[in-house]
Structure formats: structure tokens, C-alpha cells
């Protein structure tokens, strides 16, 4: 995995057993920075912590289901990637999840844990690339500015010397 230790993850899952197992797997392999919430409302109360990834179950207790939580997260920030997890293959839920900006959709089957880890790894990779891109833009800007300053100084010096 690509520099995933710094990644912060929210896991929104109402089954304590499933949440505990997935948390353990992610903690052992991806990042120790993971928080578990039992409902969408609890997750949204803490969303100002700006997690990089939210692993979001569709069926949740409370007034909001996964789609409602996804919409609220995306309305607030585009920097948090949401991976949708559902107990069943439901095309309508999958389409809605992607429509409202989910990064991907996982069905809770025997490969769910592996898929979750792979997707978090991909998100970390994209995040690193974005950071590198930002840094490279800053360097390019500084390089351009230093050249512009050099040229301007030559022009001024030239005018001063030949005046």
C-alpha cells in the first residue's frame, strides 16, 4: 500500500461484530487512524474532522440511510471519498450511490474486506498524487517567478548602466 498510514478513515456500520472485524483488518493493514460510528448522524456530527475516506453502510439506524449521509458529506466537502457498503446487490442503491458521488460500491460478501482495503489504497495513491501535483505546481510557479525577477533585474541594471 502507498503511504496509507497517514490516512484517516471513518467506518459507519451498525453491526458491532462486522464493524470490529473490518476495523481490525484495516488497522492491521492500512491505517490506525480509524473511527467507528454506529449511525449516519454520529458520523455527520464528527465530519469536521475531515476524514480522507468514509466507509458507509447503506442500512443504518436513525433517520438517514447511507444515501442521505453520502449526500450530506458531499454537500459539505468533495475531499472526503465515500466507499459505499451494502448487504445486498441492489442496482438502484448502487446507481444512486455513484450518482451522488460515491467512490465505489462494495457488497458485503467474502471479498468485501479485500476490496475495501484495495480501494482505500487507491484513494491514498490518488491523494499522494494530488499532493505531489500541488507541490510541483508551487515549484513551477517559484521557478517562473525567479526567472521573471532575473530578467527584470537584467533589464533594470542594463538601463541604469547605459543611462
Amino acid at each position: 500500500m502507498n503511504n496509507t498510514n497517514a490516512l484517516s478513515v471513518f467506518l459507519v456500520e451498525d453491526s458491532p461484530t462486522y464493524a470490529s472485524a473490518l476495523k481490525y483488518d484495516i488497522t492491521s493493514n492500512i491505517t490506525k487512524n480509524i473511527k467507528v460510528y454506529e449511525s449516519g448522524e454520529d458520523c455527520l456530527k464528527n465530519i469536521e474532522l475531515n476524514p480522507d475516506v468514509v466507509l458507509l453502510d447503506y442500512s443504518l439506524p436513525g433517520k438517514l440511510n447511507g444515501i442521505g449521509v453520502l449526500q450530506k458529506i458531499k454537500k459539505r466537502t468533495q475531499n472526503t471519498e465515500v466507499i459505499f457498503i451494502s448487504g445486498q446487490e441492489n442496482l438502484e442503491v448502487a446507481i444512486n450511490a455513484m450518482k451522488y458521488g460515491a467512490y465505489d460500491y462494495i457488497v458485503k460478501n467474502e471479498t468485501a474486506f479485500i476490496r475495501a482495503k484495495n480501494l482505500i489504497g487507491k484513494i491514498a495513491e490518488h491523494k499522494n498524487l494530488r499532493e505531489e501535483n500541488k507541490i510541483s505546481k508551487v515549484y513551477k510557479m517559484l521557478f517562473f517567478l525567479s526567472w521573471a525577477l532575473t530578467i527584470l533585474s537584467i533589464i533594470f541594471l542594463g538601463r541604469y548602466m547605459f543611462a
Partner: protein
Amino acid sequence: MKTQSQRNYDLSFVREITGGNVLYQSQLINAFVTETNWSMKHLTGGLKQGKYNRIARHAHRMKSTFDLMGIDCLKKDIRLLEDYSKQQKNVDRIPALITRMNGELKTICKSLQNEITINQSQ
């Protein structure tokens, strides 16, 4: 001690993700037993009150924990229970499904708790 084929659960996946961490395996088994007892109360309570949505919600949640614990013998039943209660169809079959699950889960939880005792003695 029962062999894997005689047991009605399979902890291979749990062992795989925990990488042999016996203490954590015991914690996960305890979490499963507590959650299952709680969910069974909701299933029987929902049945008594005729609240099929409540049954569907809890059956849905239990489904993924059964897969985790390798409880294949109830894989079909839990899906049928979720489907019948969600769609409110074949509701006459729901009591039998819950009774069968209740009996089977009591045995499974007992065996799982024995696993914890064995783990602790090792």
C-alpha cells in the same frame, strides 16, 4: 472436540483477518454472541408485535455477521427471513424460520463460547 465438518460454523475467515491473534478472536466471538442474543430478542419481539420491518432490519444486519462466522447452515434461512419480512410475503413461514434460527444459534453461541475457553487455556 468436534472437527470442522461437524461444526455449524467456520472461523477460518476470522482467523485469517486476525492473523492468529487469539485474544482478538475471543473479543470478536464475544461481540458476535452479544449481538446475536440482542438481535434474536428483536426478531422474537418483532414477531409478537407483527412488526415485520423490525424483523427485516435485524435479519439484514445478522446476515453479514453469519457470513463472517461461517455459519453456512443458516445462510439460506436468514436471507429468506429478510426477504419475507421486507416484502411481507409468506409471513406464515416466518415463525418457523425464527424458531429454527433461535435453536441453531443457541447451540452455535455455546460452541463459540467453548472456543474462547479453549483459546484461554492454551
